[in-house]
Amino acid sequence: MEPVESQTRNETVAAEFTSESVETPVPSMPRVERRRKPRAWETPPAPVPPPHLDDYRKIVGEPEIDELRFLARELRGKTVKMVNSTAVGGGVAEMLNQMVPLLNEVEVKTHWDVITGGNDFFEVTKAFHNALQGSEYRLTPQAQDIFLMNNEQNRQRIQFSEDFIVIHDPQPAPLVGARKESPQRWIWRCHIDLSNPNPEVWGFLRPQIDKYDAAIFSSQSFARQLPIPQYLFYPCIDPLSEKNKEIDENFVQQVCDEFGVDRSRPIVTQVSRFDRAKDPVGVIQAFKQARKYVDFQLVMAGGGATDDPEGAAVLREVREAAGDDRDIIILDLPPWCALEINALQRASTIIVQKSVKEGFGLTVTEALWKGKPTIAGAVGGIPNQIIHKLTGVLVHSVEGCAYQMRYLLTHPDFAKQLGENGRAHVKENFLMTTNVRRWLLLLRILSGTK
């Protein structure tokens, strides 16, 4: 097979996939010749430099960008420090990589610091993270000591002289102990779901949170009763990122050819790591029910099976559920295949995200942004994005998912309207520029320059 050239990269395809056992063709359907062992990018691409604010003008419009600059005027010269627990990997670091340059561009001088700690610290914070999202955990005095001691070391190492200090997530939360008697404002940005926290760990953390001036959550349902104002910042996507930017139709075709996806027939896709919370087996069951009535292919594009034993087990279950069905295309992709994911989403007729447990569900945001009619589980932050039958459809079961697949595939006008509404919903509420706006607003409100 020849190397594939993407729009922005020129890399050799080398690693081979092991998915698919494709032995049973359905004779009545014309189809492209499916490659038995699709291949993927072997190495991650070089990072793309973050965009400038003006790069978004074509997407969100001139007035929107002008409004951001007006909002920032009153904050000129103010300083912000963002603190989190990792510089690379994970959604928070990814968001800060985009957000910090944009805030600096509008002259809100923003600095980003990362806390340090030993393995014992990060083992404790990982356990806290899971416990705060509802897992069983026994909080020991030793874990408390490790948590507080490492935070104290970071407190002594990091300077906190800025006007606004933003602490991301629970790991560095006790840094608020460094707060001075000054107009300085401290903000806790909680990216995780606190709707059902382990009471011991939350009870331990809560006195620290009460010392902040404001807290930010990603969904109304994730918030707790606190004595400080709580704000709602939805997570967002960057429309200029590899995952979401406009791409050339030839590249979309190239990726489909590479992975054996037949564009002459409808394509339903779920993009998710192989995780039971995303119910990939349920999606396959829904596909099998729906296909009795309408012809289409199912693409299950995900990852996480290589370095996660549970992911590998789920992938095995998915393959087992798919059996030898040639119309189910399972792709275990490495995390740097953003452009390929983008292409698969754009090639799809419908996108599914049949999660049974979810944070916000940014794959739903990505699908809506691409104007795709989207079927998704009514869990976590998904109902914030999908207003049932207006910006997509919500489902609660395999049967419901199967029915909506059939319905949307046979009612293209309705599906098209959902897609258009979904894209407009994302443009208004879930883009990077909207988040810049939210940050500027919060800083103005907290500094009294409303």
């Binding site: 007035p63 929107e64 109304q220 918030a223 509404n421 208004e428 607003l441």
Partner: protein, 227 residues
């Protein structure tokens, strides 16, 4: 807006310029939430004015691209989480433009829910499929680059500003003005004497079209006044 006769000022030469502003809103999560119709009614009574504003006026902008089936968050919740289409219809037909004070708007919603629960006592404590979380808006008003010294410039300003500015001047303005009108109509009427154009703007139906459509209708009316 009153319709008393005034001596028209020379057309297209306003007494004062129109400064286009816009407003930005930050969502604050409040203490109120409702997992049943009873809790919903309690929360409607107790929530801050900012919550009523958010779930009616503001949500119109957040979902301004939807032409049908959506007018406020309360109606949407009654339909999707409580499966009460009759109540949803009653809540959805509350037109925010008939209210110049949030308190009156709140009273209307309370009245509708109370009437519904009186007729449907079984619905009082039935659990909703999803909890309704009351949020509130913190507002910052922002100037734009657009200023109109003439009707021509006004039309040009309308073309250039965002739908956020249209929402600010055309829909939310009545809470500031305490009048059944909007900033655009007020300016056209008071500063330009364009009574008919002002009246036509007030007749635009904001519920059956998108905010972009509303903006285009405003522009067309102003352009006709230019002729």
């Amino acid at each position: 807006m009153t319709t008393a006769a005034v001596t028209p000022i020379r057309p297209h030469t306003p007494v004062k310029a129109f400064y286009f502003n816009t407003s930005a809103h930050l969502l604050r999560i409040t203490r109120q939430k409702a997992a049943s119709m009873f809790e919903f009614l309690e929360a409607l009574r107790e929530c801050p004015d900012g919550s009523i504003f958010q779930h009616t006026f503001r949500t119109l902008q957040e979902h301004h691209f939807i032409r049908e089936g959506f007018s406020n968050d309360f109606a949407q919740w009654a339909l999707s989480a409580c499966n009460e289409p009759g109540l949803a219809e009653a809540l959805a037909t509350v037109d925010v433009r008939e209210f110049t004070a949030v308190g009156d708007l709140r009273a209307r919603f309370i009245e509708i829910v109370e009437e519904f629960l009186t007729r449907n006592p079984a619905a009082v404590n039935r659990p909703a499929r999803e909890t309704f979380y009351f949020c509130a808006s913190d507002i910052v008003v922002i100037p734009t680059n657009q200023v109109a010294h003439t009707l021509q410039e006004f039309a040009e300003g309308l073309r250039r500003v965002s739908v956020h500015s249209i929402q600010h001047h055309f829909i939310e303005a009545r809470l500031r003005l305490k009048l059944m009108s909007n900033d655009f109509s007020q300016w056209l009427y008071e500063d330009l004497g364009l009574t008919e154009a002002a009246r036509q703007l007030n007749r635009i139906d904001i519920y059956t079209v998108t905010l972009d459509d509303v903006k285009n209708q405003i522009i067309r009316i102003v352009e006709r006044a230019l002729v």
